[in-house]
C-alpha cells in the first residue's frame, strides 16, 4: 500500500481522497500468460502493476501487434476508466504479476472530490498521450533498423547502463513492439554489427556508442531518454524531465541547431 501511495498519481492527494479511491481495491496475483483484459471489454478497474511485466496489444483481422510493455510501477487503461469506455487494447501478463485493481467508480468519484487528484490524473494521461505521440513519430519517420538502434540507446539511458544492455523481453515480443517480424529484428541486429552492436541472447553490448548514435540520430522529441527508476516513474515525470533537459541545452545544444535549420 505504501508503494501505491508513492505513485505520482496519489502522491499529492488528500488522505480522504486516497481512502475513497482505494476503497474496494484489491491486490491480486496472476500467473504468466494470463489475459487480464480483452479489447472491447468494458473496463471496470484501474490496474496498477506492482510486480512483473504486462503486455498491451491490439488485434485486427487475425493480425496482432504489441503496443506497449509495462514494468512496475505503472498504471494502465486509465483513459478507458476516466471515460468509462471499452478497452481498445488487450492486456496479458508476461510473467507472474502482482496487480492492484481499483474500481473505476472510485477513481471517477475521487476525481470529482479532489482537484489535486484530478490534476494528477490529467498529468498521467498527458504523459501517456505524449508517449504515444512519440511512438507514432517513431514508426512513421524511421525504418526498422533506425527504430532498433534508438530502442537500444533509450534502454541504455533508462537503465543508466554503460556499454552493456539487457533486453527485458523475448525478441519476438520486442519485434512486434518495434513493428517488425522476428526475422527482421534478427537482421536489424546484424545490420547494427557495423556500428559495434553485438548480441548474445538477451545481452547486447554496445562497443561503439558514438557510431550507433550517428546512425540512430536520437531526438528528444521522439526518444525520451529520461533515466527511469529513482524519481522518475510515471510517463508524465519523464516528459517533464525531457522538456527541462531539452531547455537546458541537452547534448551541447545539438537539437537547438537542427531546430533552427528547420525554421525555413
Amino acid at each position: 500500500m505504501e508503494r501505491v501511495k508513492g505513485l505520482p498519481l496519489f502522491a499529492d492527494v488528500a488522505p480522504d481522497t486516497f481512502r475513497v479511491a482505494t476503497a474496494g481495491a484489491h491486490l491480486q496475483r496472476f500467473p504468466a500468460g494470463t489475459m487480464l483484459l480483452l479489447e472491447g471489454d468494458p473496463v471496470d478497474f484501474l490496474y496498477v502493476l506492482l510486480d512483473g511485466q504486462v503486455e498491451l496489444h491490439g488485434t485486427w483481422n487475425d493480425r496482432e501487434t504489441v503496443l506497449a510493455i509495462l514494468r512496475p510501477v505503472s498504471t494502465f487503461i486509465l483513459a478507458a476508466v476516466v471515460l468509462d469506455a471499452d478497452a481498445l487494447m488487450s492486456a496479458r501478463t508476461l510473467e507472474r504479476c502482482e496487480i492492484l485493481m481499483i474500481p473505476g467508480d472510485a477513481i471517477r468519484t475521487a476525481m470529482r472530490l479532489d482537484p489535486r487528484f484530478a490534476m494528477a490524473v490529467s498529468r498521467d494521461l498527458a504523459g501517456c498521450y505524449r508517449g504515444l505521440v512519440r511512438t507514432v513519430k517513431n514508426h512513421k519517420l524511421r525504418n526498422s533498423v533506425e527504430r532498433l538502434a534508438n530502442y537500444l540507446l533509450a534502454l541504455r539511458a533508462a537503465d543508466n547502463s554503460g556499454g552493456v544492455v539487457r533486453l527485458h523481453h523475448e525478441k519476438r515480443i520486442l519485434a512486434s513492439l518495434l513493428g517488425m517480424t522476428p526475422e527482421n529484428l534478427s537482421r536489424a541486429f546484424s545490420a547494427l554489427q557495423a556500428v559495434g552492436v553485438n548480441v548474445q541472447g538477451a545481452v547486447v553490448t554496445l562497443s561503439n556508442v558514438a557510431a550507433l548514435e550517428a546512425l540512430a540520430k536520437p531526438d528528444p522529441l521522439i526518444d525520451n531518454h529520461a533515466p527511469r527508476g529513482g524519481d522518475i516513474i510515471a510517463e508524465a515525470d519523464a516528459e517533464v524531465w525531457s522538456s527541462e533537459w531539452n531547455r537546458a541545452g541537452g547534448v551541447a545544444g545539438a537539437r537547438t541547431a537542427s531546430a533552427g535549420k528547420r525554421n525555413d
Copy 2:
C-alpha cells in the same frame, strides 16, 4: 465566446472558473500556411481552433509526417499545457484560421480550483489518447490500401453522407496522414476502383459500400464511426459514443462474433 463556452472542455464548469481560465485569452486570425508552433518550443498557450484547418506534424532527419488534421471546434496541445512541457508536434494553418489562445497558466490554475474543469481536461486528454491508440493500431495492423478504405468509410460516417464523400484536404496531406507517399495514395485509389470507389478531384463516390466494407473490415476498436457535428465535437464524446454503440451491438453484433472467436 459562446462557442468557447459550448466546448465540452468548458461546458460543465463554474462561471468563476470560466472567467479564470479565459483571463488573458485572446482571439487571433492567421493566414494560410502560418507556423503556429514549432516542435521543441515551449508551449505557452492552449489553442482552440474556431474556424479553418490546422495540421499537426512531426519531423525527423529531413523527413516530415502529418500526425493529425484538426477542424473546428477543437483544442490542441492540451497535453503539453497540462505538463508545461515542450511541444512534440509542430502546428501549421492549412487555411485562414480563427484561433483562441488561452494562457497555459490560466488553464493550470483553473484546474486546481475547479475539480469539474480538471475532470473535463482529463476526459479530453483521455479522448485524445484513445484516438492515438487507434492511430497506432491502424498503422501497425493495416496496409496502405486498407487504411485508405477505412478512412473513406470513416469520412462517410462522420459526415453522414451517403455514397458521395468529399475529401477535406489536399491529397498529398492526406497521403502523409495515412502514412504513404502521394504516388501510392493515387495507386491505392486505383486499387479501390475494384470495389466501386471513384475519384474526381476532391469528390469520391462509393458505388458499392458493401464491397468496400468487405475489404476495409472496419473495426470499432480502431475506427471511430461516431457521426461528428451535432452533439459530438470532442474526441472524448466520440469515444463514449463508440463504446455505447459497441455495447448496444453495433452492426448486428458483427464485432461480438469476431471478438468471441479471438478468445482462444
